[in-house]
């Protein structure tokens, strides 16, 4: 009973925060709401006895990704008002379409009467054996080694593509060329000007 209450509290916070992510006017507020979303979903995972995933979510997403994200949001001076110009104008129509689609999908799934017998019965191993990390480690490099290695390739590709698209010399950008600075000579920087001495202007 108490577990159910906790679940619904966390789920409610999760949904509210998710809504805030896309509706907040201030991008920093959006990012912070996203942190809350990750945090509450980690709590939900903990309740489902997936401790490792919950901890990894907090460590990786809250700890690293979102902090980086906040930095980016703060560094890039994005004019959010311009980006949101069409938001309220298209909101009613978009919301209507979304609601209709969700209703239609619910009707179909509701009518389907899902039969979950295809899934193996969830077993609850003795508490001493529920070591998430060990269980994941056992299958990650054995049963799921192929998709795991493919995921590694996807990450490698992401690195290559991101660097290829951003690392380039562009004319007109302001950057220091240390080589040039060191190699500079007096003639380039110093201009001797001969001028007559001036008298103080009379006021």
């Amino acid at each position: 009973m108490i577990e159910k209450v906790i679940f619904y509290v966390f789920a409610g916070i999760l949904l509210a925060a998710a809504l805030l992510v896309i509706t907040a006017r201030n991008p920093v507020h959006s990012a912070l709401s996203l942190v809350l979303v990750f945090f509450t979903s980690a709590a939900l995972w903990l309740m489902a006895e997936a401790e490792f995933l919950g901890i990894a979510l907090i460590l990786v997403y809250v700890g690293a990704v979102m902090v980086l994200f906040l930095f980016v949001v703060m560094m890039l001076d994005i004019n959010i008002a311009v980006m949101r110009e069409g938001f309220s104008r298209y909101l009613p129509l978009g919301a209507l379409v979304a609601v209709i689609m969700v209703l239609q999908m619910l009707l179909v799934i509701g009518a389907a009467g899902v039969d979950l017998s295809g899934f193996a019965e969830a077993t609850n191993p003795a508490l001493s054996e529920t070591n998430n990390i060990r269980m994941l480690g056992n299958v990650l490099y054995t049963v799921y080694v192929y998709p795991f290695e493919l995921a590694a390739m996807v990450l490698l590709l992401a690195i290559i593509a991101a660097i290829m698209l951003t690392l380039r010399r562009r004319g007109g950008t302001r950057h220091q060329d240390i080589n040039k600075q060191v190699r500079t000579t007096k003639a380039e920087r110093l201009r001797m000007v001969r001028m007559a001495s001036e008298q103080k202007n009379e006021q």
Binding site: L150, V154, L156, L157
Partner: protein, 479 residues
């Protein structure tokens, strides 16, 4: 879940590509030449070896599963991989001089092409929805980056952005459908999904998931009404990338369809048939009618792709092994024609001049009668005129349709093919009957010229002697 040591040898083509991608990545670092020579030749060598590896590992070895049922090795995988690698080699061969002339050549281009091919290979022998999706992401991510390759081009960036957003949307659709199918069958493995579909259990939920999957696949194909990205991306991307994009990935999309909707959900054929008919008829109509109005050759090819995808779907609609073999033959022959078409644009272009308008084809016959003849063959082939490979592709699809009792659809397809003939022949009119005051000689590197002549030769040769390719396409489906 019990673990068996995987038979790594069965995945030799993927392992080869993955290893060589890393080798090229490192080798390119030490390449001081301006034209990324080492990366280019290593990549082409990798492609050629991959063709051989795909055939020697998969062809004629029967159906084998490994990696706990996630990897399948069969004739179909072998043929798909060999044709994709061959097309990748051809289009990358076209791209080098194009990129070099425009100061765009970087080793990363070849690296992205390699990893894209790895993604296609993974899709071709995927026996699990998880693997299919991983392969698709490998392919799409490389393609997004390739489309944005020319960072200084505004249309290129716009095309990449559109491609990326719509691609992400379609991936979302596909994933949602997959999750529903997983919910209905309790497994990600294709054969187990097929067993659930055959038993009729959770039929409605499976059909629900199948609908989303079909939408996702149609997005990747660029079938109407999910075709919006195709013209902009084909036109905006550097021509070398359009050539790559228009050939091998279409075969990969077919692989996705065959593995997921034919092998996995083949028992739901009656349900996806009607949706596929809508996609096919829409693609034929929109593709052919819009292509009539284009003045930009790349955009015209984009709409012609859409119409060809419609034709390809007709083979899938038939739902017989003959139909699937016809669709496979169509995809391969279309890949060759498309690579040739974009190759011609590359051949005629030079730095600062893209040669991507139909008017730029004027007087090609006076400039070089050999290339004019190749263009004639390519356009005849796309139209489906006997003597070229395109004729047999259309003929096989129509035959499968008629055998499946869908005569009205076959008639409709022929009507649209006749409409399509107009814009292909209009290009030929420019090539042969419009003259230039001072025909300029064609400046193109020897490699591009040789590849162009080779493409024309293949189109003609396969048109005169299609028996072998038809036989292997049929053998891939056990016919």
């Amino acid at each position: 879940m019990t673990f068996e040591m995987p038979q790594f040898a069965l995945a030799a083509p993927e392992i080869w590509l993955g290893v060589m991608a890393c080798v090229v990545l490192v080798a390119d670092l030490f390449d001081r030449s301006k034209d990324s020579r080492i990366a280019f030749f290593l990549t082409q060598f990798t492609f050629v070896v991959a063709i051989w590896l795909a055939l020697s590992t998969h062809w004629g070895e029967g159906v084998q599963h490994t990696f706990n049922g996630m990897y399948i090795s069969d004739n179909l995988a072998g043929l798909l991989k060999a044709s994709m690698a061959a097309l990748a080699a051809l289009t990358v061969g076209y791209s080098r001089d194009y990129l070099l002339q425009r100061d765009l050549l970087k080793g990363e281009f070849f690296l992205l092409a390699l990893i894209a091919l790895l993604g296609m290979f993974v899709m071709a022998s995927a026996a699990s929805m998880l693997i299919l999706y991983m392969g698709l992401e490998l392919l799409s991510l490389s393609l997004y980056a390739m489309v944005a390759f020319d960072r200084d081009s505004r249309v290129g960036s716009e095309a990449a952005m559109k491609y990326f957003v719509l691609g992400a949307l379609s991936s979302g659709m596909l994933l949602y459908g997959m999750s529903m199918i997983y919910g209905a069958s309790g497994s990600l493995i294709i054969t187990e999904i097929a067993a659930t579909a055959a038993s009729g259990q959770n039929g409605l939920l499976l059909a629900f998931g199948m609908t989303f999957v079909l939408v996702g696949v149609a997005f990747k194909f660029g079938a109407v009404p999910f075709h919006m990205w195709v013209p902009d991306v084909y036109q905006g991307a550097p021509t070398a990338v359009s050539a790559f994009l228009g050939s091998a990935p279409k075969i990969a999309a077919l692989a996705l369809f065959l593995r997921l909707l034919v092998e996995g959900l083949g028992d739901l054929h009656a349900q996806w048939q009607l949706m596929a008919i809508i996609l096919a008829v829409g693609s034929l109509a929109v593709g052919n009618l819009f292509a009539l109005m284009q003045t930009n050759l790349k955009r015209m090819f984009a709409y012609s792709t859409i119409s060809h995808i419609g034709f390809l779907f007709l083979g899938l609609i038939a739902g017989t092994d003959e139909g699937y073999a016809a669709a496979l033959f169509y995809a391969i022959s279309y890949g060759i024609m498309s690579a040739g078409g974009f190759g011609m644009i590359i051949l005629l272009s030079r730095r600062g001049f893209e040669a991507d308008m139909i008017d730029d084809m004027r007087g090609l016959n006076d400039r070089h009668s050999g290339f004019a003849l190749v263009m004639l063959l390519l356009m005849f082939s796309m139209t489906g005129i006997p003597g070229t490979v395109g004729f047999y592709a259309k003929w096989m699809v129509l035959q499968a349709l008629v055998e499946a009792g869908l005569v009205w659809l076959a008639v409709l397809a022929v009507v649209f093919a006749v409409i399509g003939a107009f814009y292909y022949l209009r290009v030929l009119k420019s090539v042969y009957f419009e003259r230039l005051e001072d025909p300029m000689p064609i400046e193109a590197a020897m490699g591009t010229r040789a590849a162009m002549m080779g493409t024309g030769g293949v189109v003609l040769l396969l048109g005169l002697f299609p028996g072998a390719l038809i036989a292997v396409c049929r053998a891939a489906f056990g016919l």
